[in-house]
């Protein structure tokens, strides 16, 4: 038993007999490497599903947000190309400075 196992508190109460019982009860669950492969496949499929709209619109579509509100963020709070809310002294006589 390593210190790491002790540190992360992995429970070790599972005795061999008990473990065998669990294995019998959950025979339908893949174990070991096949479980790892299945997990990787499911995660990849889920990520593919989430990004499917981007894959389909690869030529002319990008992820969308709230629209106006997302656009307003840099405008309101950082700088304003319309000079309505000048954020630095050089913008007070915008655009000439």
């Amino acid at each position: 038993m390593t210190t790491t196992e002790d540190f992360v508190d992995r429970h070790r109460e599972l005795g061999s007999a008990e473990e065998a019982t669990v294995r019998r009860r959950y025979r339908w669950m893949p174990a070991g490497r096949s479980a790892d492969l299945l997990t990787a496949g499911v995660y990849l499929a889920a990520a593919l599903y989430v990004t499917s709209s981007l894959w389909i619109g690869l030529r002319d579509r990008v992820a969308a947000g709230y629209g106006e509100q997302d656009q307003a963020w840099p405008t309101r709070r950082t700088r304003s190309p319309t000079c309505r809310t000048p954020s630095t002294p050089t913008r007070w006589t915008c655009p000439s400075g």
């Binding site: 669990v22 997990t39 499911v42 990520a47 593919l48 990004t51 709209s53 709230y66 997302d70 190309p81």
Partner: protein, 514 residues
């Protein structure tokens, strides 16, 4: 970008650690394919990395580790950030960094683990310094809590400290040049373009459903989040309820790792509320973040993103709870069987409303034929730039899209990046320092009203073209308010040529003074 000043790439969220390995894909299929592939791999990779660490070191059941990994990779905060923040969602090194910090306590292996940890930290810097900082904070608090709850682990402190010193040394050696470039190189800057205190989490958002989920509602989410990419804290009330109950259950069972994890998650949830605790948009009492908010580095933290630390703590708690429910006491009595179905069922039911949907998209104009057919080459010699009308900025990204469509074969002035202000003591900017011409063209593009030329404007316009080493100005017919922009620029340069699907003003002779 940003001719003639350039961009400090080390000081951007450049994701070099992702972009460099993807170079073959980018060269073969273009940056769009690389980007979407990285979003996909970021989400799935983060989930699998957590699954791997959980299944090997924390829980006995692969199924429980699957639940925890799935939450860590596909939590609402991750889906929200995946709308554009590659550096945030690519957290596949995070669980290994946490693991190797813990493994420093293993006797006799601190040197080896220290070196591995140092390499991992250095690589994480090439993906996201922000996430490395959050990881350090989260793991640090977890360890402190764990030591307080189980002081016996202090016996490994000496090798832990030695291993940590090795890790920091290795990372410092690897990162010496990138960090020097970042903090002292050309176009370096300090701070953020906005006060980070502006981006906080509304307490009500924790129980709200994220906009891009089965039960999501854009109107509610938009009211509670600053932008669509910062729904970091939207867990949905069923998940909050389930996690609180499960954390309480594990606490009562004296599972030390769950206790330390729960305290860590709760602490970061509270800190994410920022300087003022807001509930449904109403300010209530001062937030605890103000205690640390002025400290170095913390003064640059967007507190809303501290909620991203809550995500893996919830994932770990779900995994431990599922593991306890699935693997212990295999049905010798009625109650454990009921508990098993209860725990797994509750997690599943709480997850259903926040299951993600495909990312919403919006149409952007495709690059014009003038660019894709390579006809720009006849006009833009080496050392000169292609100037879009309006100029490229966070508001008008055509210049960057067009350049990326040609694998960056031509240069542009300005762009969308983080750069220094004209006054070094002022906060940095999103993009280049505005010039007279860039401001005028931005105004016209946004308002649709042409700007009548006034005395002295010619000199200001020409000054900017010379500064940018302009070869041509290009206006696409797909640009919003193109007629007003055409009228405005015509006052300075006369009528343009129509080449393919764009208007082109050839200013090479004008800029050269011939």
């Amino acid at each position: 970008m940003d001719v003639p000043f350039g961009v400090n790439m080390a000081a951007q969220t450049n994701v070099l650690g992702l972009g460099l390995p993807m170079t073959p894909v980018t060269l073969l299929f273009g940056p769009r394919v690389s980007f979407v592939a990285l979003v996909m791999l970021g989400l799935a990779g983060t989930a699998y990395a957590w699954y791997h660490v959980l299944s090997r070191y924390v829980v006995s059941s692969r199924a429980a580790a699957f639940v925890g990994g799935a939450f860590c990779g596909f939590a609402p905060g991750m889906i929200s950030e995946s709308r554009g923040h590659l550096h945030i969602i690519s957290q596949f090194l995070t669980p290994f960094i946490a693991l190797y910090v813990v493994r420093l306590t293993e006797p006799g292996r601190w040197r080896r683990h220290g070196i591995i940890l140092g390499v991992l930290m250095a690589y994480q810097v090439l993906i996201s310094e922000e996430i490395l900082f959050f990881t350090g904070l989260g793991v640090g608090l977890f360890i402190v809590m764990y030591v307080l709850l189980r002081p016996s682990v202090l016996a490994g402190f000496r090798q832990f400290a030695a291993g940590a010193a090795v890790a920091l040394g290795v990372a410092a050696v690897i990162l010496a040049i990138p960090l020097y470039k970042q903090f002292a190189g050309a176009q370096h800057y300090r701070g953020l373009p906005f006060p980070p205190s502006l981006i906080y989490v509304d307490l009500a958002s924790y129980s709200a459903f994220p906009s891009n989920s089965l039960a999501g509602d854009v109107t509610t989410a938009a009211r509670l989040a600053h932008t669509s990419a910062e729904e970091t804290s939207f867990f949905g009330w069923p998940m909050v309820l389930v996690v609180l109950v499960l954390a309480g259950w594990l606490w009562l069972r004296k599972v030390t790792v769950a206790r330390a994890t729960a305290i860590t998650g709760l602490t970061f949830a509270v800190l994410s509320l920022g300087y003022h605790i807001m509930i449904n948009g109403r300010s209530t009492v001062p937030g605890p973040f103000r205690i640390i908010g002025e400290l170095p580095l913390f003064d640059l933290v967007v507190s809303a993103r501290l909620a991203l630390v809550v995500v893996p703590t919830v994932g770990v708690l779900l995994a431990i709870a599922a593991d306890r429910a699935l693997a212990r006491a295999p049905g010798s009595t009625r109650w454990p069987a009921v508990r098993r179905y209860l725990v797994v069922g509750a997690i599943a039911l709480a997850a259903v409303p926040i299951l993600p949907l495909p990312l919403p998209t919006t149409r952007v104009p495709v690059p014009p034929t003038f660019i894709t057919a390579g006809h720009w080459r006849q006009y833009v010699p080496a050392g000169r730039t292609l100037v879009t009308v309006p100029t490229t900025s966070s508001f008008f990204l055509d210049g960057m899209r067009w350049a990326s469509a040609t694998n960056l074969e031509f240069a542009i002035p300005r762009g969308y990046f983080l750069g220094p202000n004209s006054n070094p003591s002022s906060p940095p900017l999103y993009g280049a320092v505005p010039t007279w011409t860039s401001i005028v063209l931005d105004q016209v593009a946004l308002t649709g009203s042409a700007r009548p030329k006034q005395d002295g404007d010619d000199a200001l316009f020409l000054h900017d073209l010379k500064m940018w080493h302009a070869a041509i100005l290009v206006l696409s017919d797909q640009q919003a308010n193109a007629p007003a922009l055409l009228t405005t620029v015509e006052q300075f340069l006369g009528p343009p040529q129509l080449v393919d699907d764009v208007w082109v003003w050839d200013v090479r002779r004008l800029v050269d003074g011939r």
